[in-house]
Amino acid sequence: MLSIKDLPKEKYVLPGHSACPGCPESLGLRFVGMALGKDVILVIPAGCSSIIQGVMPSSSLSMRVLNVPFASAAAVAAGISNIRGLLDIKVIPVVWAGDGATADIGFASLSGAAERNDDLIYVCVDNEAYMNTGIQRSSLTPYGAWTTTSVTGKKEGKKELPLIMLIHKVPYIATASIAYPIDFISKLRKAASIKGFKYIHLHAPCPVGWRFDPSKTVEVARLAIEVGAWILFEAEEGRVRINPPSTIYVDKSKRRDVREYLDIQGRFKGLDGREIDVIKKLIDDNWNVLLKLT
């Protein structure tokens, strides 16, 4: 098992970046750098990470970065991966895209690259709304959450994107959380060792959009797992395996009360008992579907 001592000490996200206080994306980008080092080319569609880089000619990311149009990231990375052999290129294309660029506007190009099994790593950094334009709902915003375009709480559930990608039958898919960097880094390294399309869905609580104190980003991410609202798992060649610490929470009685997770966030303020029951049921349903696949 990977230990913190084994990780590189280089700074891949430099001081002075333009992320908000408590931003999970700057954490996640650091982990990508620590996992894959200088071999990476990040393909970044429109989103918060377009801003975090800062103003040219400077960049806060000590990695190759190709900024691309919103819906295009998977296809651009596919273009790079498809000429690696012909032109003897060593770099690893890694898409770093938000939930909007992945599940919504860019979904067709994501699905296309997955179906072709293009040799690349796709990371969806999921902060559960369009945060860069100021907190509008996405298809990955969970049921009941306030956003500026769902002011009475979202009426629909969260699209199950990791499962949708699993059913694309790609060689590797995984979920991860910014609260568990060793797990995320190990998964990135495993993905880099596998040929074909690799998808990693990173849960990334956003203090600005979820309405919690910026000091609590990691705490909220951990709570999501402890109440069972976010499940760490991976699937190699379609074989699904729940990863620790989520393995404990297969036993429902071990999960913490979902209200602990909801109450810490302003976006779930004012939910009534019925709505909380809906959220509980959605969590149970997710577990049931996933456990049937293991």
């Binding site: 377009s50 800062g54 190709l66 296809a75 294309p93």
Partner: protein, 389 residues
Amino acid sequence: MTIKVLTGNYAVAEAVKLSGVNLITAYPITPQTPIVEKLSEYVDLGLIKASFVRVESEFSALAVAYGASICGARSFTATSSHGLLYMHEMLWWVAGSRVPLVMAVVTRAIGPPWNIWDEHTDLLDQRDTGWLISFAEDNQEVLDTIIQLYRITEDPRVYLPGILGLDGFLLSHTSEPVDIPDEHIIKSFLKPRSQPYTLCGDELITMGNLPRARDAMFMRYDIHLSMERAKRVIKEVDLEYSKLVGRSYGGLVECYRCENSKYLLVGMGAWVGNMKDVCDELRDEGYSVGVLKVRFFRPFPYEEVVGHLSGIRGALVFDRSISLGSLGHLHLEILARASSIGKHTIIKGLIAGLAGVDVGVKEIKESTIKFINEIEELGYVKDSSEWLL
């Protein structure tokens, strides 16, 4: 040198085969489809040593070509009409990144209603994107211009992507004898791939993060300057190509029997061939008429157009496209330099052949005679812009 009977689409495929591309990607759309099929076959049979990426949309086609090109690959894609509109955002991104890349656009009307026939509005809708835009008159020019475009776009004075437009069905599905140059000649003509930077080397480069406003404006200005420089490059490349292959297209414009002409027909694309036939007939009938073919629409050859139109009595400009609420695209460009051309020259625009309406020698000849007679009788034209409905 080999002469083959080829449709315009297959002429495109032959040109791509000769051009040493590393990556081809496209999504099928009528009337471009045979380009995709033929190139896919060439790659599968090992006749082209390239990667062929079978994408799920035109938007992804240009995105894939962009990713490959920015890492040093010579790439190619092709589309038409709705496919071109669907990739519009990517067109801006490719040009703004200064990535040389070549695309064929088989021109086709835009719906609704669904319409597969020829019109130039799809391509001219890309007017402002920073791509070089050219039109071919026949299938030989299709083949030659694709090859030339790789040289032009990869020239350090240019470093911009380029489009060859060929008329849907009129060229794409019409067979003509096409002379295919020898592979070794084209190999020496097209030097190894050149581009301003590559993102897949050892250096850690960032492309496209936020700019200061003035820097971004300067980047726009630099594209504009490169467009201006491209004019010289296009002429040089055409000249060099003619020395190797024996065919020249005049660079930016071609002047057909227009020396000492009193009247000029001005147009782009396949129907210029009809205009030349009309010109020959009218010359025989005693009219002083020539044809000015505009080969490159971007960069627009103002100097050449002003030079040819100054001092003549009248220019009839044919547009197979329309900026709705205004005029045809070519007419607009020429009117933008009307003060340099001078008041003596009467300029009239004719919107014709939209949505695939047939325009042949008969229609062009009648319109030309009407235009000339009106000027000769009245000294002016009643309508400076007209639809040939």
